[in-house]
Symmetry: C2
Subunit: 299 residues, 2 copies
């Protein structure tokens, strides 16, 4: 098991605590019949997960010295989207998972209908957070964040990738198609995490190419590592079911490349991701550590 | 059956055609494995429904002489939210409806997983549309629209109301609780339709009280009329199953007030809604016609 570098461990623990505290505040349970919805949102959102996407937002914002309280709001929004997608993905009619982050999934702890609404409510909450003046004083920044998040999570981003993933159960995808699937399903949202830092700091679109390159590379590396964990990981460490893709007959990077080539490919992508950061100094050390950890983690 | 006034009939037909054309354009089916998602989104969004919410947006924008092409984009966004909520609501784990707008529901025409993703994709699309500069040149307006739509569709709005509706199957709600449920479940989004016109025209929040009052009154009247149709309507006219609330043992305005009082209450609310418009001239005639039609419709 890889040892996590201290800079990364500290940053992850801090962002996890901050995200939990912010969710605890924003998801205060109302004293009416909506209570069950908020309890389910809390169950899904608080006290679990790697918080990798919030960390990426914070790390990208750090590059441009964005105020941390504001960066955290963007981190919270992206985690709302990530968590909503997990809650819906775990539904019996989707991946049918009973376990997530080492705990019962929302539809197991509550019921299917509550899980559908919980995902929908977290989805809306993400945009409510981004559009609030507390996230940024400049409405252009807020509108831009919303546009980018909606695009990367909607039919031309994450939701489109999830559809491809459903189709993958019936068709045999080749490597370019699996790569495209993953770029939409997980890559688009990771791309948003990095772009968000630039948007918050008014960095122009043409100045964001390096961040997009980094995001694309670690996004794919992250997915290859996930495929490797699905083959080689264990339930106790990952906190979720393993071996599911193979059981569903889906093509993955591992089934297409084999374990050794997949591992080499992930490692190459990490080097390439770090290469994109060469113009930055020590302020990008956290992003470098994240890139390395993406392929070394065991969950 | 009530005869629809010509001004309303013409406006509804025009907005329905415009919404269909816009969805047809924005939901062009891509030539890849996401095709199924776009086909399901088209099935859900095109060629059906009363388009009452888009019409309310257009009518509210007309009060303030907002450019129609821009008003239509807001109308499209609100219809995305409305349609996503219907697609999820119809799922077997929710209301389990096979028929919607006279056609098979998305999970019947496709499958449950596709229906979950279709709702999610339409949800994201709503915010993508609002945040786009084509909707309004002023980013403050765009961010404001997003904030209001997210709030009125999220846990403190529509999704919260839907949760109360789930709880209503197990508990017996009194009239104030049913009123609150409906204000969240359908009223919040209707409120957004009216507010959106004011936001698009830079009308300050304090100037929007009349529109909010109108929205609150027709929202409740609309719901009482729906409850009456659920008891008295027929499948052929409404295009959806009837008698479901009674079968589920839910308290409704009709079960709490009886048919006669419910009908009088709806009629009183319509008068009150029209009263809020007294400061406006002929430019509010469409809103007046809508208010009257809300309780006279047979579907």
């Amino acid at each position: 098991m890889a040892v996590m570098p201290l800079v990364l461990k500290t940053a992850l623990e801090r962002v996890a605590a901050d995200v939990d505290a912010a969710f605890d505040h924003i998801l205060a349970v109302p004293d009416d019949a909506r209570a069950r919805l908020y309890e389910a949102m809390r169950h899904a959102a608080i006290g679990g997960g790697k918080r990798m996407r919030p960390l990426l937002v914070i790390a990208a914002c750090d590059l441009f010295h964005v105020d941390r309280a504001r960066a955290l709001r963007v981190a919270l929004a992206i985690e709302c989207i990530h968590v909503y997608s997990l809650v819906h993905d775990d539904l019996p009619c989707m991946d049918d998972d009973d376990l997530r982050r080492g705990r019962p999934t929302v539809h197991k702890a509550f019921d299917d209908a509550t899980a559908v609404l919980t995902g929908d409510a977290l989805h809306a909450l993400a945009f409510e957070i981004l559009a609030d003046p507390e996230t940024h004083a400049d409405p252009f920044v807020r509108a831009n964040l919303v546009a980018e998040l909606a695009r990367s999570s909607g039919p031309s981003g994450m939701a489109g990738g999830q559809m491809m993933d459903l189709v993958a159960e019936d068709e045999t995808f080749d490597l370019p198609t699996v790569t495209r699937l993953q770029q939409l399903k997980t890559g688009a949202l990771i791309g948003f995490c990095l772009e968000a830092g630039a948007i918050m700091a008014h960095v122009q679109p043409e100045g964001r190419a390096r961040l997009r390159g980094y995001a694309r590379d670690i996004g794919l590396a992250f997915q290859i590592a996930d495929d490797l964990l699905d083959v080689e990981g264990d339930v106790a460490a990952t906190g979720k079911a393993v071996g599911k893709d193979a059981a569903a007959g889906k093509a993955t990077f591992v089934s297409l490349l084999g374990v050794d080539r997949a591992r080499r490919q992930a490692s190459m992508l990490v080097d390439q991701a770090i290469g994109h950061l060469s113009v930055f100094g020590a302020e990008a050390d956290l992003l470098r550590a994240i890139a390395r950890y993406v392929v070394e983690r065991d969950r």
